[in-house]
């Protein structure tokens, strides 16, 4: 069955690999004392298992990547990346306010959400054969003290 049939939903295997690549192409502040690179997943979403598989045994710099499920929002959980499940999209603005300046990359999975609080949003492009694309909000990301490589910016379908 082809990806563009039936559900026409995001392929989380590909999305997980995108997230791993974001971790490689975005720089976090060097004074970070954490020994692990934490990717948090907030809300119930099938991406969790795919993400665990995708980052298993991988490093960002010298730090091993770990995936943590978060049932409540905890800004002291030392996440570097926070994936927000679609069930929490309605709270995005609030979440974004909460993480302002905390050096966290907020990732969603719906087109247009990087204009509504997400740093990056991964989505399906129906007009381009249902390929997985991503949009970035450069302003949000840099405001949170993160540095995006030029090559990553060039690969984004949209930059706000």
């Amino acid at each position: 069955m082809s990806f563009n049939s039936f559900a026409q939903t995001l392929n989380y295997k590909i999305a997980s690999l995108y997230i791993y690549n974001f971790a490689r192409f975005i720089s976090w502040p060097k004074n970070d004392k954490n020994t692990e690179f934490v990717i948090g997943v907030y809300g119930s979403t099938p991406i969790t298992d795919e993400l665990k598989r995708a980052v298993s045994g991988k490093l960002v710099g010298q730090k091993p990547i770990v995936v943590k499920i978060m049932t409540t929002l905890d800004t002291s959980a030392n996440c570097s990346i926070l994936f927000i499940a679609p069930s929490q999209d309605a709270n995005l603005k609030k979440i974004s306010e909460q993480y302002k300046g905390k050096h966290v990359l907020l990732i969603c999975d719906k087109e247009g959400l990087s204009k509504k609080g997400a740093s990056i949003s991964i989505y399906l492009d129906e007009d381009d054969d249902y390929k997985t694309k991503f949009e970035m909000n450069k302003e949000y990301i840099e405001f949170n003290g993160l540095f995006i490589s030029k090559s990553l910016l060039q690969l984004a379908a949209k930059v706000f």
Binding site: F3, S5, K13
Partner: protein, 690 residues
């Protein structure tokens, strides 16, 4: 008989060979990568990925955005029209000499002759020369304003084309009164495409005469927000090397009597959202085809166009783009200002200049990711003047005519999972012939590898200046067309795609040139008048394969007038299923095979079914002839290395006796085309250093 067998053998070879070429290729694009492979992919590679694998070359073409059908960039399968996209690669590899060679391979399009040797276009069995198909060159309307016609045959430079987007159905709801049956939008290479200098020299020779010799030069570059392109095209050609015989039996050789000499300069400049386009097009032709008997020598029949457009895309925010546009058009079509010999006095002077000033404002508003609105307003003024030595006056008793046209249009595009929907309409108000309103509706749906389009469109043809001037009863009105289309597309594999569509066209009040034995209320015996109805219906099929080995395109078009009303002058006498000049059945086949990385071999074949046209019978009498099916077969071999592209080819390989037939009963005999022609083409490109 021997020749027929040769044709059949060649066709069989091509058809049998093509599937072998296809099967010989691994369908690598269809194989989805496994998890381990994906895990090692770069982000660039992941971006090309979908679950069924990496997008194939064909899918990349199908998904490339085109905006001719909606002014909003949409993929081919989602555009709210029956569309065809022709790429630069297809044009180059086919060795097409001109637009006729390119467009003849499109289902539903064919060519016929009007008067004074002018060859123009037919769409789905309907003659479309005068204002029924809009021809755009880099967004500029190339239809001349006096009769609204287009001129084909060594007119436009095919080597500068980046792509051609074609609506094979109506486009009036966006483009107005010239887009009744279709829109052909030619997009040439811009500064970013060129980034250097390019020169192309082409030469064609038949056994008897020069076919054509053309030179194309272009330069362009892009530096940050600024880009420019300047292209020039100059040449000479003979329409044919055969003998023309008029309906009274007079004949002459077309060699040296059917010149097609282009002189075209095309300038594009862009800085951020501001863009300028300037086109100078001086198409000089000669003809001996006249009204009554042929002239004793060739006389000029020139078409001059000067066009300029300035537009500015103002991005108000992420969602709204506002585009004000002003344009200017100055044309001298069908121009002849010399002194004809006494025996050729029927070849009349024509020195009329049409000028158009146009202004428009368009807004593109992405209300949400799924709802888009395109709306705008447009005003133009057309002026025409008759200058000496042309002694005539317009029907208003003066040597000038003026009229204005104001229009408003809107289109909403909804893109939901259940289906995509386009709703649009255009309203025009003209100071001479009143108002027109044309709505359109399109429903597009994609299910797995299938896509469906249901399209209902009204369109209209605005009377041109001469339609108004030569109105037989002084009361010419726009003609209206209703087109219903249904298309099904199927992606058979990532490398194979086919579409089938059916259409039904009904034109109310078609504008027809008419000669009567009784004077009209205004005392005229001949001129333009609105007839009751004209229409065709039919089906088109298009099958494409594209892969690393090359590409294949097989298409078939069928139309019939059965069950439709046809204007008597257009009807093929004795056959109520066909119009004059256009074959009810037409089959096109092209395959391009990359023999090596640098060498491509591209045969193209058009099989044009039985046609009808008036010819000389003898004893000074014309009669309707049934023209047997014709096969036009061509081959082009292209080699490229580094900056050089070199090609050799043969057009009309079987030396078929193909003639452009007059598609109405207008007292002009079929115009012969070129016999077998050998061609050579060299292109050298020099890129600017980065």
């Amino acid at each position: 008989m021997k020749q027929l067998l040769l044709h059949v053998n060649a066709l069989i070879f091509l058809f049998l060979a093509s599937p072998l070429l296809v099967c010989a290729q691994q369908d690598s694009a269809a194989i989805p990568p496994d998890s381990a492979t994906m895990a090692n992919m770069s982000l660039e590679q992941l971006l090309k990925l979908k679950e069924s694998g990496i997008s194939s070359q064909l899918e990349s073409v199908l998904n490339s955005k085109m905006d001719v059908a909606s002014k909003k960039a949409l993929s081919l399968r989602k555009s709210p029209s029956v569309v065809t996209l022709i790429t630069k690669e297809e044009i180059e590899k086919s060795g097409a000499r001109d637009l006729i060679d390119v467009l003849r391979l499109v289902p539903g399009i064919d060519f016929a002759v009007d008067v004074q040797g002018n060859v123009s276009i037919g769409m789905r069995g309907n003659w479309a020369e005068e204002g029924k198909v809009l021809l755009l060159l880099d967004g500029q309307e190339m239809n001349e304003l006096m009769y609204s016609s287009q001129q084909f045959g060594n007119h436009f430079d095919v080597s500068q084309i980046k792509r051609i987007e074609i609506i094979r159905g109506p486009g009036s709801a966006i483009y107005g009164g010239f887009a009744e049956y279709g829109v052909i939008s030619i997009i040439t290479k811009d500064g970013e495409d060129l980034k250097g200098v390019s020169a192309t020299a082409s030469y064609g020779q038949s056994a008897r005469a020069l076919g054509y010799r053309d030179v194309s030069l272009s330069i362009g570059n892009k530096m940050k927000d600024f880009s420019y392109s300047v292209a020039g095209f100059f040449g000479q050609a003979n329409r044919s090397d055969n003998i023309y015989t008029d309906l009274a039996g007079n004949s002459y050789s077309m060699i040296g009597n059917s010149s097609l000499d282009p002189f075209n300069i095309n300038i594009g400049i862009k800085f951020k959202g501001l863009s300028f386009r300037g086109i100078y097009d001086n198409f000089q032709t000669t003809t001996r085809d006249n009204y009554g008997t042929p002239t004793s020598q060739a006389y000029p029949n020139n078409f001059l166009s000067e066009l300029a457009e300035l537009k500015y895309d103002i991005k108000l925010n992420d969602k709204i783009t506002l585009t004000p546009l002003v344009s200017y058009k100055n044309q001298k079509p069908w121009n002849y200002t010399g002194t004809a010999l006494p025996q050729d006095s029927a070849y009349t002077l024509y020195n009329r200049t049409a000028t158009q000033y146009r202004g428009s404002l368009t807004i593109l508003y992405d209300i949400t990711n799924r709802i888009n609105v395109v709306a705008g307003t447009e005003v133009y003024q057309n002026n025409a003047i008759i200058s000496l030595p042309d002694p005539q006056l317009f029907s208003n008793g003066t040597n000038t005519m003026h009229y204005t046209n104001s229009a408003a249009f809107a289109q909403v595009l909804f893109r939901y999972h259940i289906a995509s929907l386009t709703l649009g309409a255009r309203y025009d108000n003209n100071s001479v012939y009143g108002s027109s309103f044309v709505p359109r509706l399109g429903i597009m749906k994609k299910i797995e590898t299938w896509n469906f389009k249901f399209l209902y469109s009204n369109s209209f043809r605005a009377p041109g200046i001469e339609n108004i001037n030569l109105s037989i009863d002084g009361n010419i009105k726009p003609e209206y067309t209703r087109v219903i289309e249904f298309e099904v597309g199927k992606e058979i594999t990532p490398n194979m795609f086919c579409t089938v569509n059916v259409f039904d066209i009904t034109t109310k009040n078609p504008i027809i040139y008419y000669v009567d034995t009784v004077a009209s209320s205004t005392g005229n015996y001949e001129g333009y008048k609105n007839f009751p109805e004209q229409g065709t219906r039919g089906a088109e099929f298009d099958y494409r394969i594209k892969d690393s080995w090359g590409y294949l395109d097989l298409n078939y078009a069928y139309y019939t007038t059965a069950g439709k009303t046809v204007v008597p002058a257009y009807q093929a006498p004795g056959d109520n299923s066909m119009t004059l000049g256009f074959a009810a059945n037409k089959l096109n086949f092209s395959v391009s095979y990359n023999a090596t990385q640098n060498l491509s071999i591209t045969p193209t074949v058009s099989w044009i079914g039985q046609r009808y046209g008036y010819v000389y019978y003898g004893m000074g009498l014309p009669y309707v002839k049934e023209f047997s099916p014709t096969t036009l077969a061509n081959i082009f071999i292209q080699y490229h290395k580094g900056n050089l592209k070199a090609g050799i080819g043969c057009y009309n390989m079987f030396n078929a006796d193909y003639e452009f037939i007059q598609p109405y009963n207008g007292s002009h005999a079929p115009l012969p085309s070129m016999s077998r022609e050998y061609e050579i083409r060299l292109t050298y490109t020099l890129n600017f250093k980065r």
